[in-house]
């Protein structure tokens, strides 16, 4: 567990543009380290999506699976704390630099990196057992719905659950 906490402290600083960008890396670390299978990770992700609250709570689930309640607290704290310390200092700085030209450059440069990483996260989470037609069908339909409609994402999770029951049993 100490190893996971140490790694989450580092990941916290790499999570540019929010935690959605570090999901593929989190999965790689936990699966390659033998903490859990890719299928386990997707299941924990599902639980964290189904519960109300921020995505980052998946770290609490990971800690909880590895080391119980103490692990849940430790993992969540580790992923939040370093970034929060930076934010504490940057909050004041940011207000002063509101119109600095470099800010626009940095913001623009982040967009393609964030898109690439979030796409990777979606792909990795959608294919825990390899790429198959069922995964493509379920992930593809919710991706299309979120891109082209204003449907509440909760319905897409429900639809995913129904399709899962029909296709994976």
């Amino acid at each position: 567990m100490a190893e996971i906490v140490a790694y989450f402290l580092l990941l916290s600083l790499l999570s540019v543009g929010g935690v959605n960008t570090i999901f593929p890396e989190m999965q790689r670390f936990l699966v390659e380290g033998g903490w859990m299978t890719a299928a386990d990770f997707t299941q924990l992700f599902a639980v964290s999506q189904a519960a109300p609250g921020p995505n980052i709570l998946i770290t609490a689930l990971i800690g909880w699976k590895v080391a119980g309640l103490g692990g849940a607290f430790a993992a969540l704290a580790a992923i939040c704390a370093p970034a929060m310390v930076i934010t504490w200092w940057a909050g004041a700085l940011w207000d002063r630099m509101r119109d600095a030209p470099w800010r626009v450059v940095v913001e623009r440069s982040l967009v393609p990196v964030i898109v690439g990483l979030v796409l990777s996260g979606g792909y990795v989470l959608a294919t825990p057992g390899g790429l198959g037609w069922r995964n493509i069908l379920i992930a593809g339909s919710s991706a299309a719905a979120v891109t082209f409609t204003k449907l509440n994402p909760l319905w897409l999770l429900v639809l995913g659950g129904v399709l899962g029951a029909l296709l994976f049993r």
Partner: protein, 131 residues
């Protein structure tokens, strides 16, 4: 303000609670805002997880949860596609997207290697107004 929370590393909720808490009440305000935002969802998600472990061996439940997870992954993909709209006609930006996806999603290169490289290329491209 939201832009700041999204652009800095870390969970957006955590960052926003820090920025707002600090602005209004200082350190204790930031701590209170963070705990207030996290406490209830934390209990919720663990309760759900406990429930799930109780019945986790049931193949039907596992199938349902897998479906939910894969649909959730689809939400990520959709979100990424929406984010990509402003750069859809920017070949250099699309090349960076593809490079990140190949390295992180397919080749599974550690983020610690990919991120500095990707950010360096992206910053250069943004400076030259290619993005």
């Amino acid at each position: 303000m939201l832009a700041l929370c999204q652009f800095l590393p870390g969970p957006n909720v955590a960052n926003c609670s820090i920025v707002l808490g600090r602005r209004w009440f200082g350190l204790s305000g930031a701590a209170a805002a963070f705990s207030g935002l996290m406490a209830l969802p934390f209990v919720w998600v663990l309760a759900l997880a406990a429930l799930y472990t109780g019945y986790g061996d049931d193949p039907l439940l596992r199938a349902v949860i897998s479906g939910v997870g894969i649909a959730g992954a689809g939400l990520f993909i959709g979100t990424a596609l929406k984010l990509a709209r402003p750069i859809a006609r920017r070949p250099v930006a699309l090349a960076i997207v593809a490079g990140c996806f190949l390295a992180v999603g397919l080749a599974r290169v550690p983020l610690l290697v990919v991120l500095p490289a990707a950010l360096a290329v992206a910053l250069l491209a943004a400076r030259k107004r290619w993005i």
